[in-house]
Symmetry: C2
Subunit: 157 residues, 2 copies
Amino acid sequence: MTDTSSPQDTRTLYLEDIAVGDRFVSGEHALDAEQIKSFASQFDPQPFHLDEAAGQDSLFGGLAASGWHTAAITMKLFVAAMPIAKGLIGAGVELTWPKPTRAEDVLHVESTVTEITPSRSRPGRAMVTVETLTLNQHGEPRQRLVSRMVMFARGAD
Amino acid sequence: MTDTSSPQDTRTLYLEDIAVGDRFVSGEHALDAEQIKSFASQFDPQPFHLDEAAGQDSLFGGLAASGWHTAAITMKLFVAAMPIAKGLIGAGVELTWPKPTRAEDVLHVESTVTEITPSRSRPGRAMVTVETLTLNQHGEPRQRLVSRMVMFARGAD
């Protein structure tokens, strides 16, 4: 088990470099109201993502980032923290947002390898499950992401 | 069962307006290489999302949109097609990307209500499960999204 706390890991990770329990901690992304509104106006133009007063009147009780914005920032932090050989290509994911992401949040992600399933048909290839928590500066979780991704051994096709 | 094919539905949907099997079909979003690279440079800066030649050399066999970009475009189309009262607030989602999204894709989404589970503790409130397929102009699926969302009856808190 390795605790890898470098926000920008410059290695390239192959299958033999990881084990269940390995943890990758990213750098930080400071959010603000302008980013929240800009993303929302392009992709999730609902009042509580666009306007403070509308946010106050909503279930969120204040301006909240789109969950898809939190997911996109998570990916940015994750690709820098866990540089997988041939790239991070997700087969499928599950996402939950336990609490809304706010304009004052400074986000980072903590990813843990939870399962490694070698391919039966293709040697040197495995499906790797990673749980990624997106946390703010107070350690409060904003998103939980479980991803399944293909990883390759050195020299595999 | 209602087939609602208006790309911009101007109604506001309450719990009593929907039933299992109801379907919502969105308008279209035409993608291009510039949008793919712009999103990727902000949120998923991997070579196969940023450069055609790098895409050719990758598992994708060509420039491919980030799955998170496909997800974000899906949300834009979905919020216009299924205007839920008090907003579309996802409790949790599952996502798979059966094939990469390409620069020449013109995307639309087709959402089907698959389950309605009334809240036991809060009358007039239910957890609604919706399956949303994101398809290109040839009907080829690019993403499957299953979302669980809160919906409210008229007059509920």
